[in-house]
């Protein structure tokens, strides 16, 4: 039991540290990075419930992310409904969408389920482009003016800085990780994993496959839509490719695959790798660092080439990363760490 107490203390310490960060860090950039990290953890963890635990590898999670983001933004833009109210509409809509998608896609297994999930997300993306009266089409929705958040007339925050977003993000991360923890430590977690390991065996043991797959999907979709709504109000802009595109779905999955599917901390680890990496690539940080340490001169052909092209290379790098992970760490970073710990234990004995 000592180990669980130690774990709890460690988690509380990290949480305390995260709560204190905005008091000591003024840099909006640093807070921005943390918010991106939170968003990534939420997205990965939401996918994890369906993909990691229940083994239904959806490559269409952009559907839920986009529906959440669009609903909140549309309500705010056209009806001036505050996002913390609009988000509930997003959740309600996503539950309906998820149940419809589930009733179609869960008839299929394995690769066929994957293809169907992609198709459904693409249908939503194309709808968002073409239903211009509703979604403003390819132009997207721009809504940066957030109403101040009031409790009983007193203004709690007016969203002028990144700090309120930081705390909302942190709260949502705690929520998603908490939900996953509860799932893992309940009947649901056992049933999800049974379905993942062997659907027919699970069925013979009294588990209603369609019921539990749909529960996993709805949980996952609701949390993903929360992440989407948060993205929408934080960035202040949504358009079809950024919230409904296939690369959003792939990004959501990658967090989990790299971190470790079906583990509580996998998506957190995955985000800790992916977010800084994509940021470093995008902002030309790597080229600048190489110049600074004198490895390449900024005027040389290589320097110019890197500066011009490296920022587009993050997709390529993701690809390489996935190949490396699948080859050398098939259970993700979490699985790799567990394996190392086990080996050390055995060596100690």
């Amino acid at each position: 039991m000592d180990k669980t107490i130690l774990k709890a203390i460690a988690i509380l310490a990290v949480l305390g540290g995260l709560l204190a960060i905005p008091r000591f860090v003024d840099s909006p950039y640093a807070l921005h990075m943390m918010i991106l990290l939170f968003m990534s953890v939420m997205m990965g963890q939401s996918w994890n419930i369906l993909g990691g635990y229940a083994g239904q590898h959806s490559v269409g999670h952009a559907a839920y992310f986009g529906v959440g983001a669009y609903t909140t933004m549309m309500l705010m833009h056209t009806k001036q409904i505050a996002p913390w109210i609009g988000v509930w509409a997003g959740i309600a809509l996503v539950v309906v969408v998820a149940l419809i998608i589930g009733s179609i896609c869960f008839r299929l297994r394995g690769p066929y389920f994957v293809l169907a999930s992609i198709a459904v997300a693409e249908i939503l993306r194309l709808s968002a482009i073409n239903l211009t009266t509703l979604t403003n089409g390819a132009e997207g929705i721009l809504a940066t003016e957030l109403p101040p958040f009031k409790v009983g007339g007193a203004i709690i925050t007016d969203f002028a800085t990144k700090v309120p977003f930081y705390y909302i993000g942190l709260f949502l991360v705690v929520l998603t990780v908490g939900v996953t923890y509860l799932v893992q430590h309940s009947k649901l977690g056992y049933f999800f994993q049974a379905i993942r390991e062997d659907q027919d065996a699970a069925h013979s043991l009294g588990i209603s496959i369609s019921l539990y797959k749909n529960i996993a999907l709805v949980l996952s979709a609701v949390l993903t839509s929360l992440a989407g709504s948060f993205y929408g109000i934080y960035v202040g802009f949504v358009d079809p490719p950024t919230v409904l595109g296939l690369d959003v779905s792939v990004q959501i999955m990658l967090i989990c695959i790299i971190g470790g599917m079906g583990t509580l901390w996998g998506p957190v680890l995955g985000s800790l790798v992916l977010v800084p990496l994509s940021e470093a690539l995008r902002s030309n940080m790597i080229t600048e660092a190489l110049v600074k340490i004198g490895l390449v001169s900024p005027e040389s052909k290589i320097g110019i080439f890197l500066k011009e092209n490296l920022s587009h290379a993050h997709v390529l790098l993701y690809g390489i990363l996935v190949v490396v992970v699948i080859l050398f760490m098939p259970d993700g970073l979490m699985g790799f760490i567990k394996k190392l710990a086990k080996r050390r234990k055995q060596e100690a004995v």
């Binding site: 009947k187 994993q193 013979s204 043991l205």
Partner: protein, 239 residues
Amino acid sequence: MAILEIKNVSKFFGGLAANSNVSFSVEEGTIMGLIGPNGAGKTTLFNCITGYYPPSKGEVVFDGRRMNGLDPDKVCMLGMVRTWQKVRPLAKLSVVDNVMVGALARTSSLKVARELAMEQIKVVRMEHRADFIAGGLPIGERKKLEVARALATQPKLLLLDEVMGGLNPAESEEIIQLILDIKQRGLTQMVIEHDMKAIMRISDRIVVLTSGEKLTEGSPQEVVSNPEVISAYLGEAHA
């Protein structure tokens, strides 16, 4: 009293009759053996009984209730559970977690489920393996795990599909003892088996299937002395 009644069950795959007009009943507390050459339709019959296939014709009545068209999970909840000829462990889960999945059919508490699971693990004598990952077990123990997991759902009727297939004589003997133990607890069983010696020892009655049809039914002695059975197994020259 008959706990399971199979009434004129037929199963067609296109023009092929995997089962045709099979009828028999299983008495409560007994062991029914189901034998027949490869392709006789034994596993298909199991699938029809447990809801994996709807029977094309006929009726399956369990505990006074018509089972046709019920899904496998409902069948399990009503008290009929099967194991698989080709074992299906939940490979990444530990032995105790595997059995807990079965136990969770009857309880929502993980604590209660764990206790129920440990009880069944003791029944199959695998306490020392409780924390092993199921995917790493040898075949004999995987077969026993299947039985423990099925027992954990607290069935009234246990259907065993070749639990001795691929086992060595010592392991088979262990399974025979296990099946007799389970009978002692008053649980009805239906057993598909290829090993004639084993099936003779454990069964109260035996049904013989060939090419999807019921050839005969009777006590083990009656069945082995039946010339039709001998010819089905060994060819007509021996009958």
